[in-house]
């Protein structure tokens, strides 16, 4: 098969060579150059904050006080990073933002399991089974996706308190699962709706069991959407601030909350290099995911657009 393709390719190339007129090399027009320059300037503008965070975090306070925000650090020292990680103060506790990092990791896993598990099964049932009021339920979910968080904030505090999980990792996970459910269910439902009817009919003939079809056929088929949703959820849970602030107790606050405490409510003279190093460390995990798996990230962001 490949040899045929190769042969035809060679053939077409030889056809090209026999053309009498040598092709003009494509020249860049003035307008194209203008567009590229404009885009490059915009790209630089987008890079400025990240650049400034990185340089500031590598400077010493002496250099920062000289006041040239865009200059490169005099020497490469990671002292501010070490201080930020290990010793920066959130309120009166000076254990660094590593506390927040660990908390965020601990929050991440139960939140992922709860939110994806709940919405995946719901999406599957709504898409592929004959369920009563499926369409009305979908419409209600669609509406729920737009509800501002503040209007259900206090009742959720009471509900998680009633469940004895308020202030714990599981409390935060439950709230993440609740808030993500409408939009994730819609994403899963739309994906499963694309599964051919024949596959479902064959599966029904074979076993007909709701959970067996889910485990043996549907889950193995949902690799692609799982990656998209996983990345969407990891970044939004990691970057979340308000839920962590509202439902996190002492010792369960996520990294963003600790970061805000370190920088905004700090006492005494501000150490800008430590502040920026803390911000950078907080931003690292989602940024790495973005630069490695960007394609899936963009898919997730556009699919989960209404999540905000």
């Amino acid at each position: 098969m490949s040899s045929i393709a190769e042969a035809s390719l060679r053939h077409s190339r030889s056809v090209d060579e026999t053309v009498a007129f040598p092709r003009k090399k494509k020249r860049i027009s003035g307008r194209q150059i203008a567009i590229l320059i404009f885009l490059t300037i915009c790209a630089l503008f987008f890079c400025v904050p990240l650049y400034v965070i990185v340089v500031t975090s590598l400077k010493s306070m002496d250099q920062i006080r000289q006041g040239d925000i865009f200059s490169l650090p005099w020497s490469l020292n990671f002292d501010a990073w070490v201080t930020a990680w290990d010793k920066s103060c959130s309120g009166t506790v000076c254990q660094g933002i590593k506390v927040g990092f660990v908390n965020s990791l601990e929050i991440l896993f139960p939140s992922l399991v709860l939110s994806i598990g709940l919405s995946c099964v719901t999406g599957y049932a709504l898409a592929l089974w004959n369920v009563r009021w499926a369409n009305s339920f979908l419409f209600v979910l669609f509406l729920c996706a737009f509800v501002p968080f503040q209007i259900i904030m206090v009742p959720l505090i009471m509900i998680t308190g009633f469940m004895h999980v308020y202030g714990t990792i599981w409390g935060i996970a439950v709230v993440h699962a609740v808030l993500a459910m409408p939009i994730l269910t819609l994403i899963f439902r739309n994906y499963y709706k694309g599964i051919p009817q024949e596959i479902m009919s064959a599966a029904m003939m074979d076993s007909g069991s709701f959970w067996r079809i889910f485990g043996e056929i549907i889950l193995p088929m949902s690799g692609n959407i799982m990656i998209v949703v996983l990345i969407l959820q990891i970044t939004s849970i990691w970057n979340d601030f308000l839920i962590g602030l509202t439902y996190g107790g002492i010792g369960t606050q996520p990294m963003t909350v600790i970061l805000a405490n370190v920088v905004i409510t700090a006492l005494g003279e501000a150490n800008y290099n430590v502040d920026m190093a803390s911000a950078l460390l907080t931003a690292f995990p989602p940024l790495i995911i973005y630069f490695v798996l960007g394609r899936f990230f963009v898919q997730g962001i556009t699919a989960g657009a209404i999540k905000g």
Binding site: Q150, I151, A260
Partner: protein, 298 residues
């Protein structure tokens, strides 16, 4: 008839989601609306005196800070429209000049992967009056340049708008780019044959064709503006004074700082009402446009 699990298990599987919708969404919204009609202060007080059901709302509207918050929300909304415009310009340019599409897209979209708190703190640092960008501008010989917007009540909101636009433009660019790519390629060549000018092509042909995408962007933008909180918290924490409060900030402050459940609930209900007021007409227009398009296709 025998009881068949296969028939019932899908319904059971939906029970958790149904329960969440009923309790955490419908029930909770109802509870908050109820609370907004009571005199609850620190703790929930379920009695409603129907003669003065609106007292929390009256208090809200008499509160200058809440009015400021509403005004700020409008200012933020209008200012953030720049993100859509900017996003469209970027998308149109990337779409025209295919070179480097991947790189540009990666750069314009990375702010979305970063926490709003981190973004806000970065901008707060750039706006630092003594060591930030202003100082740099003075050093390069522009002593009149001002970049300390966050320090003054009159300009602080513009600082937040700048940060928000920086953060959101990439997202609208991505939406616009997929909209532009779905436009039939024949239109480009037809326009070139007809000698339609660059500006007319975009203003009179492309943008009207993409009104659907623009509407989607407008819906998402306005919902984001109503919810705005993290960015304000990280950049100004509401200050200077209370000049950059937004409704979301007001609601959370009313609950945690003022410890007034009734007032917080009323503010939350106003937020919901604004969301509904923005959302309904836009969705109706969208549905109407879609139907018209379908009718034309037939």
């Amino acid at each position: 008839m025998a009881f068949r699990w296969s028939r019932w298990s899908p319904q059971f599987a939906l029970a958790p989601a149904g329960g969440v919708t009923l309790v955490a969404f419908a029930g909770s919204i109802g509870w908050t609306i109820w609370m907004s009609l009571t005199r609850s202060r620190r703790f929930a007080d379920y009695g409603i005196n129907w003669d003065e059901w609106s007292r929390q709302y009256v208090r809200l509207l008499k509160d200058d800070i809440f009015i400021t918050a509403l005004k700020n929300m409008v200012v933020l909304g209008v200012g953030s429209l720049l993100a859509i415009v900017f996003g469209f310009i970027l998308a149109a340019m990337i779409d025209r000049e295919k070179r480097g599409e991947g790189v540009f897209r990666t750069v314009f979209l990375y702010p979305l992967a970063v926490s709003l708190i981190v973004t806000g703190l970065a901008w707060r640092w750039l706006f630092n009056p003594t060591l930030g960008v202003e100082n740099f501008l003075h050093q390069i010989g522009l002593p009149w340049a001002r970049f300390d917007w966050l320090n003054y009540p009159e300009t602080a909101m513009y600082g937040i708008i700048l940060g928000t636009v920086w953060q959101g433009s990439g997202f609208y660019m991505a939406l616009m780019l997929s909209g532009l790519k779905s436009i039939n390629s024949e239109i480009w060549s037809a326009a070139r044959l007809d000698g339609v000018s660059f500006w007319r092509l975009y203003l009179e042909i492309i943008i009207p064709m993409m009104r659907f995408t623009f509407l989607t962007c407008a819906i998402l933008l306005s919902l984001g503006v109503v919810k705005a909180y993290d960015m304000v918290y990280a950049m100004t924490n509401g200050g200077p004074g209370q000049s950059t409060w937004v409704p979301a900030y007001y609601t959370i402050d009313a609950y945690w700082q003022k410890q007034n459940l009734g007032l917080a609930s009323a503010a939350a209900v106003v937020m919901l009402a604004i969301t509904v007021a923005i959302f309904l007409p836009l969705v109706l227009i969208t549905a109407w446009q879609q139907r018209r398009q379908e009718a034309r296709a037939q």
